[in-house]
């Protein structure tokens, strides 16, 4: 152990200070990297942009949450229930309707569920324009997934007025709504 035998206070100081300086140099280097990284993070394309994105996402999320809160139709299997609920709405007041459902793949990779909505057979078949308009409006407004893809509004079959005659404001309807979903 010749090195240890030749150690004196000066050499201990040299050894200690250089070792310490090397260690501190490493720490300083690591910290410089950290400072550079933090500076990069604080640059306009760093944390400020990230926070901006977070806040944009928050707005999007809040909007989606509001939509979800309002969404009446959340499940594909509830389409008929959804339509009937709208028909029974106080501003629609159509009451009972008949539904007929068919699924088809008109667009590749997607299934279109088409539900035909008609006045009930053997029941009330004539409604005012307001009732039918509100019914159609709410079918689309209360759900982002529902599209009214076919509408037929014609005079009440009981109304025998001719083209030159103005009949009563009694109408019947035949409506298709479509819910398009990716094919699973």
């Amino acid at each position: 152990m010749g090195i240890l035998a030749n150690l004196n206070s000066t050499r201990v100081i040299i050894l200690g200070s250089f070792l310490g300086a090397a260690v501190m140099g490493g720490l300083v280097y690591a910290q410089k990297l950290e400072v550079a990284e933090l500076d990069e993070q604080l640059s306009p394309r760093g944390v400020p942009k990230l926070v901006t994105e977070l806040q944009t996402s928050a707005l999007e999320l809040a909007n989606l949450q509001r939509l979800a809160d309002r969404e009446q139709f959340k499940q594909r299997d509830d389409a008929e229930t959804y339509a009937r609920a709208i028909a029974g709405n106080q501003y629609v007041n159509i009451g009972q309707i008949d539904t007929k459902r068919s699924d088809n793949e008109r667009v590749r990779g997607a299934i279109d569920s088409v539900i035909s909505l008609t006045p009930p057979k053997g029941g009330k078949t004539a409604y005012t324009r307001d009732q039918i308009s509100n019914f159609l409006y709410k079918l689309e407004a209360d759900s982002r997934r529902v599209r009214v893809t076919r509408v037929l509004m014609r005079k009440d079959p009981a109304d025998k007025s001719k083209p030159h005659e103005v009949g009563a404001d009694r109408w019947t309807f035949d409506v298709d709504i479509t819910i398009r979903q990716p094919k699973e």
Partner: protein
């Protein structure tokens, strides 16, 4: 292979011996001898120049760690000293204090002292102290360094004689020997008894110097030799006087008492002194004093084996340098050590110690300061990011402190809780950095957004079908917007049907109207105006005009199957 270079610095003569090998079996690799003429104003300086030039001409390079310097013994004062202990470390501690009173001619602080143990027991030691003025030693060290040979250790010629004689096997254990070196101004006498150092003497008695003595013989303790006048070296009469004086001094030494063994031989080296004794190349003595008081005089031929190619006279002149070189190879009959205190040898590293220490401390201080500064910078930056995080939390969730309402009152608990945790700086997510926490929060929100989009059906690559209701509403809105221009009209039936895209055309909605217009010419014009208006809409693909029918009894027309093809995607583009 180990190397050692011994240098003897005399008054006008310097010799150098470079050995390789071991102390027991050294090989002479090089040797030099230089001499300056008498009368030089600066003989030491001239000697340095001559030695430097000679070394350069022989391309002799020796590292400092291998150089041993032998100084003229005349520079030293020798004092015996008895101490009640033998521990060398203790001796070193008290040496100067003990010897101070015996060196009244010198300030003890200006003297460097070395010692050699003559006899010792566990409770007592008998020492021979060698003292030299630091200035003298330093001047020779500097001179040697100027010549290119900074000495690692310094001794006097007397100790080199002992080592050389020991190497030559001349120190019989059951006899005493007198070793004599004749120099230019100083002659050195070393008495060895039973293989151990007994005494040393330096006589200011050389070829070209008058005699005076300094000795450490207990019987002749006295002052260091005084400076003697220099005689002309080529003066035969003077040389004869010097030889006689030296003979007397040798005789005096031989006859001194207090010895266990009588001196059996006198071994001579150094400059040849024909008036005393002369040796042929085989070592046979001749001259007026082949023996003194019955004790034969023989050459101290220590280099016989190491350098047989040299003449005996050369070998005898090189003995002090050879003895010094032997010390460099590890010979330890004596352990002279005159480079001590402030004269201590400092190698390249030792000389750099202080600057290196200062540099090291400076670097340590600098790096520590940089670390502290950067630490503060990091703290400040982290505080900035923390502020962003808090601000983000206030925006998202709100703050109860200032009553801020957040944008996500309905957010799931995992988003609320995580945002709160990272905003409060709690150490609940130590594996992520601050930025990574924000990114994690963003991913949590993205997951929630994705879930809601899937639930609401808004996130899909598949476009929803066009709305027949939208197409119908816009068509009717155009008709309604025409107001008075259409006169009196009625819509008797409306149909709207979304048609999927085909090879011949894209997806569109077909709106079919059955209408009645009252009036005569106005009715037809109104119908045409309506068709033109519908045709002019940006979202209309085309319209299909139908033939008109006169109302029963006149007074108007009715048309069935007015068809408008609407692309609702264009409506959305127009609105956006």
């Amino acid at each position: 292979m180990a190397r050692s270079c011994g240098i003897r610095f005399g008054q006008r003569h310097a010799s150098l011996v470079l050995l390789e090998g071991s102390a027991k079996k050294p090989k002479l690799r090089a040797h030099l001898e230089v001499e300056v003429a008498p009368g030089e104003e600066d003989p030491l300086g001239s000697l340095v120049d001559a030695l430097k030039a000679a070394a350069k001409s022989q391309k002799l390079k020796v590292s400092d760690e291998h150089v041993q310097l032998a100084l003229d013994s005349g520079l030293a004062a020798f004092r015996p000293l008895s101490l009640p202990f033998a521990d060398k470390a203790k001796v070193e501690e008290v040496l100067k204090f003990e010897i101070e009173s015996r060196l009244p001619q010198w300030d003890i602080d200006e003297v460097v002292c070395d010692f050699h143990v003559r006899r010792s027991t566990p409770v007592e030691s008998d020492l021979l102290v060698v003292a030299l003025k630091k200035a003298d030693v330093k001047a020779r060290i500097d001179a040697s360094a100027r010549a290119g040979f900074e000495p690692h250790e310094v001794e006097i010629v007397a100790t080199t004689l002992f080592e050389a004689a020991r190497h030559a096997g001349l120190l019989a254990a059951d006899a005493a020997q007198l070793l004599v070196h004749i120099g230019e101004r100083t002659s050195t006498l070393v008495v060895v008894e039973g293989g151990r150092l007994a005494s040393m003497r330096a006589l200011q008695l050389g070829l070209g110097a008058a005699a005076s003595t300094a000795e450490a013989d207990p019987a002749a303790e006295g002052e260091t030799a005084a400076e003697a006048p220099i005689a002309a070296p080529n003066d035969p009469e003077r040389q004869k006087v010097v030889a006689e004086r030296l003979t007397r001094e040798i005789l005096r030494t031989l006859s001194a008492g207090q010895r266990e063994h009588a001196i059996a031989a006198v071994y001579l080296c150094g400059t040849e002194m024909a008036d005393l004794v002369a040796f042929d190349n085989e070592g046979n003595a001749s001259g007026p004093h082949v023996e003194i008081a019955g004790v034969p005089i023989a050459p101290l031929d220590a280099l016989r084996e190491a350098a047989p190619e040299l003449s005996l006279a050369e070998r005898l002149r090189l003995v002090p340098a050879f003895g010094a070189a032997l010390h460099g190879l590890g010979a330890n009959g004596l352990t002279p050590h005159l480079r001590r205190e402030e004269l201590r040898y400092a190698g390249k590293f030792e000389r750099l110690e202080v600057p290196l220490g200062v540099l090291g401390l400076f670097l340590l201080t600098l790096t520590t300061a940089l670390y502290i500064v950067d630490y503060k910078v990091v703290e400040a930056r982290e505080a900035d990011i923390d502020a962003w995080t808090k601000s983000n939390h206030n925006y998202l969730i709100g703050s109860t402190n200032d009553g801020t309402r957040g944008r996500l009152p309905l957010a799931p608990d995992n988003i609320k809780n995580y945002s709160r945790r990272i905003a409060e700086g709690l150490d609940s997510d130590p594996e992520r950095t601050q930025v990574e926490r924000l990114r994690h929060l963003r991913s949590l929100m993205a997951i929630e957004i994705g879930r809601l989009e899937r639930e609401l059906g808004t996130k899909t690559d598949i476009a929803p079908p066009q709305s027949a209701l939208e197409a119908m509403t816009h068509t009717l809105d155009v008709i309604h917007g025409m107001g008075e221009r259409l006169g009196r009209f009625a819509i008797r039936e409306v149909r709207a049907q979304q048609n999927p895209g085909t090879a011949s055309g894209g997806e569109h909605v077909q709106v079919v109207l059955n209408m009645t217009f009252w009036g005569d010419l106005e009715a037809t014009r109104a119908y045409n105006d309506m068709m033109n208006e519908l045709e002019g809409q940006p979202w209309t693909d085309r319209v299909e005009r139908r033939g008109t029918n006169t109302l029963e009894g006149g007074g108007g027309i009715y048309i069935d199957g007015i068809t408008i093809h609407v692309d609702t995607n264009r409506i959305n583009k127009e609105q956006s």
